[in-house]
Structures are given as structure tokens and as C-alpha cells.
């Protein structure tokens, strides 16, 4: 009788252990799947094989650019889809970002140079301020700062607001500036995080236009 009780106890313990192992396995797989989904669009800096310099490796490259519709400074809605047939440089930036300010004159020059060939820049302000939707004063202040920047820098291309609302679809946007080069078919052909050089930007623009050297 005693022996049977002992065996029963051991069996119950074993069943409990197996049950726990099954739950742990399921939980592990669930967490891994969630992490995978979150990482699916997230780019990261990796060392270039040849030079060792950090390069932005975005999984969005060679994939269709996620579409978006955002308002510009005048309240007009602008969507990426409406630029199909043109090469587009989608430039995420922020007013507090020094390197963004530094590359803006390059963007203006390149935009003016390549517009006749069917090229446009879409600047998207991505302030990362976590403003509540009903924070009217906060949004107004932010919009005023962006407007001031656009006026001072004489930015000729569309400047769209609230890039934070689409940041997840573009990989989380951990740093600014982050740029995506979209070809005439709407496919991302290159991505850059951080300031690079005017020459590198031009090379990517030419690729997006389909006339790389």
C-alpha cells in the first residue's frame, strides 16, 4: 500500500514536471515569435565586410515601401502611393537632430538637380516626443518649430508631420536621420541611418531613378 502511494506520488510529480515543461516551451515559443515579429522590420547597424564601417542593414530593402498618408504643414494629406512612377527619398528627420540639419542643404540641392528626371524628397518630421493626441499646445509648438525650420532652410519639398505614427512600419527609427530610397515601382532599394555623404546620397538617388553609373 505504502509502495503504491509512493509510486503514485512520483507519477504525479513527473506529470507536473512535464506539464510545466510543456507550458515553459509554449511560453518560450510565444515570446520568440513576438520578438521575431517586432524585429521583422527593424534595421540594425552592422559592420561592412570590406571596410568595417557601420552600415545600416534594413530588412525593408528590396521590399515594397510601406505606404503612408500624412499631413503636410498646410494640413494637406500626402501619400507615398501618389508618387508611384517617381523615385522618392523618404527622409525621417527631427528638429532636435543636428546631423539632419546638416544634410538638409544636400537634400535640397539633390532634389533640385534630379526633379526633372522624376525625383522627389518627402521630409517626415519624427520628433519622438510621445505627445498625447489631445495635447493641442504641444502639437502646435512642434508644428511651429518645424515650420520655422522649413522657412529658415528654404526647404522646397513636402514636409510631412507626425512620422512617429508610421515609425514602426519603417523599422522603429531608433536614430535620426534615417532615409529610404524608393524606386519608380515603389520598392525600397537602399536605406541609410545617420548622416553619410552627399555623394552616397546621390548614388542612391541615381539607383532609385534607374540610371546608376
Amino acid at each position: 500500500m505504502k509502495r503504491n502511494t509512493l509510486v503514485l506520488c512520483v507519477v504525479l510529480v513527473l506529470l507536473a514536471i512535464f506539464g510545466w515543461a510543456g507550458w515553459a516551451n509554449w511560453e518560450y515559443r510565444r515570446q520568440a515569435a513576438e520578438a521575431l515579429l517586432a524585429q521583422a522590420a527593424r534595421g540594425e547597424l552592422v559592420a561592412d565586410a570590406a571596410t568595417g564601417a557601420p552600415q545600416y542593414n534594413s530588412p525593408l530593402v528590396q521590399k515594397p515601401a510601406p505606404d503612408f498618408t500624412l499631413e503636410d504643414l498646410t494640413g494637406k494629406k500626402v501619400s507615398l502611393a501618389s508618387y508611384k512612377g517617381k523615385a522618392v527619398l523618404v527622409n525621417f528627420w527631427a528638429t532636435w537632430c543636428g546631423p539632419c540639419k546638416l544634410e538638409t542643404p544636400w537634400l535640397i540641392e539633390l532634389r533640385n538637380q534630379y526633379t526633372p528626371q522624376g525625383f522627389e524628397v518627402l521630409g517626415i518630421s519624427t520628433e519622438g516626443e510621445d505627445l498625447a493626441e489631445n495635447d493641442k499646445a504641444g502639437w502646435a509648438k512642434q508644428k511651429a518649430a518645424i515650420g520655422k525650420f522649413v522657412t529658415e532652410m528654404k526647404v522646397p519639398y513636402p514636409m510631412l508631420l507626425n512620422g512617429d505614427s508610421i515609425s514602426k512600419t519603417y523599422g522603429g527609427l531608433d536614430s535620426m536621420p534615417t532615409s529610404f530610397y524608393v524606386d519608380r515601382e515603389g520598392k525600397i532599394i537602399a536605406a541609410q541611418m545617420g548622416i553619410t555623404s552627399k555623394d552616397e546620397m546621390e548614388e542612391n538617388i541615381r539607383k532609385a531613378l534607374g540610371n546608376s553609373k
Binding site: 512520483v10 513527473l14 518560450y28 540594425e44 546631423p99 540639419k101 516626443e129 535620426m176 545617420g194
Partner: protein, 164 residues
């Protein structure tokens, strides 16, 4: 019988450890996943009740990064700011920020920035009520490296303030 049971137990234990979610989490991205600024100390201060007292708060900026000082040179840049929310039993009367270092970045040698790098100290002048207050102060900053900038961030600075 006992040997068989022991073997099953050992096998079960191995199986459980092999499947434990604690042992093999997803790999971390190289993206900026940690705070650019770390609060070092003090964790606890004792101050006379009702009298303004200066406490030196030590912070460290992660290697390779800089944050704007409290007085950056451009209106667009976000200054580093320390605050204590109301209702904590401790009032921040004033904060003395260190003078930042003037630097230029390799990509733009013409523009001078005023920043904090490495360790820096903020002297906070506080007035505490009597008692033990676990203050959730905040530090707001915006960090960059030589080529890119991260969004502004507000981190909690926990300090146990004892007013006596």
C-alpha cells in the same frame, strides 16, 4: 523500479532545463537598446527638514555618445533638464548644471556644440519635508553620436530622501 524512476526524473529535469525560456532569450539588436545616460549615485541622502540643501547627483553618458548640455548653442536642441515632480515631499528649488564641453563633430567642423560626455554632476538644491521620501526625479536629455541622434528621453532618477 527505483533506478527506472530515477532515470525518468533525470531525463525530465534535462528536458525542462533545455526548454526554459530563461536560458536562451532572443538575441539583442545592435540598435540603441540601452539608456544613453545612467544615474550613478547617491541612492540615499539625509537632509535637514525645511532647509535648502545641495545634493550632488552623478550621471554617466555612455561611451561614444554625447548629450546636449543644459545650455546648448542652438534653439532647436533639447537641453538636459533635471526635475522633481510635485507631491513627492521634496521640492527642487534650483539646479546648478555643469558647464558643457564645446565640441565639433568630424562631419561638421564648423558647428560648435555644447555637450556632456562621460561623467557629469548636477547640484540639486532641494527642500524636504520630515520623513522618508522615495523621490522619482527625472532627467530629460537628447543623445547623439557623431552621425546620428536618438529621440529625446526622460529617465527616472530614484533618490531616497530622508528629511530629519
Amino acid at each position: 523500479m527505483h533506478k527506472a524512476l530515477a532515470a525518468v526524473l533525470v531525463a525530465s529535469a534535462s528536458l525542462v532545463s533545455a526548454q526554459s525560456p530563461l536560458l536562451d532569450g532572443p538575441k539583442r539588436s545592435l540598435a540603441k537598446s540601452t539608456n544613453a545616460v545612467e544615474y550613478l549615485f547617491p541612492e540615499q541622502v539625509t537632509v535637514p527638514t525645511g532647509k535648502p540643501t545641495a545634493i550632488a547627483l552623478h550621471f554617466r553618458v555612455a561611451e561614444g555618445l554625447h548629450i546636449n548640455s543644459h545650455a546648448p548653442k542652438d534653439d532647436y536642441l533639447i537641453p538636459t533638464t533635471f526635475a522633481i515632480p510635485a507631491g513627492e515631499g521634496v521640492v527642487l528649488k534650483d539646479a546648478a548644471y555643469p558647464r558643457g564641453a564645446d565640441i565639433t563633430l568630424p562631419i561638421d567642423p564648423k558647428t560648435r556644440l555644447n555637450v556632456y560626455t562621460g561623467e557629469f554632476i548636477i547640484d540639486a538644491h532641494i527642500v524636504a519635508e520630515r520623513g522618508n521620501h522615495l523621490v522619482q526625479a527625472t532627467l530629460r536629455y537628447q543623445a547623439c553620436d557623431n552621425n546620428a541622434c536618438m529621440p529625446p528621453k526622460t529617465v527616472t532618477v530614484p533618490i531616497d530622501v530622508i528629511g530629519q
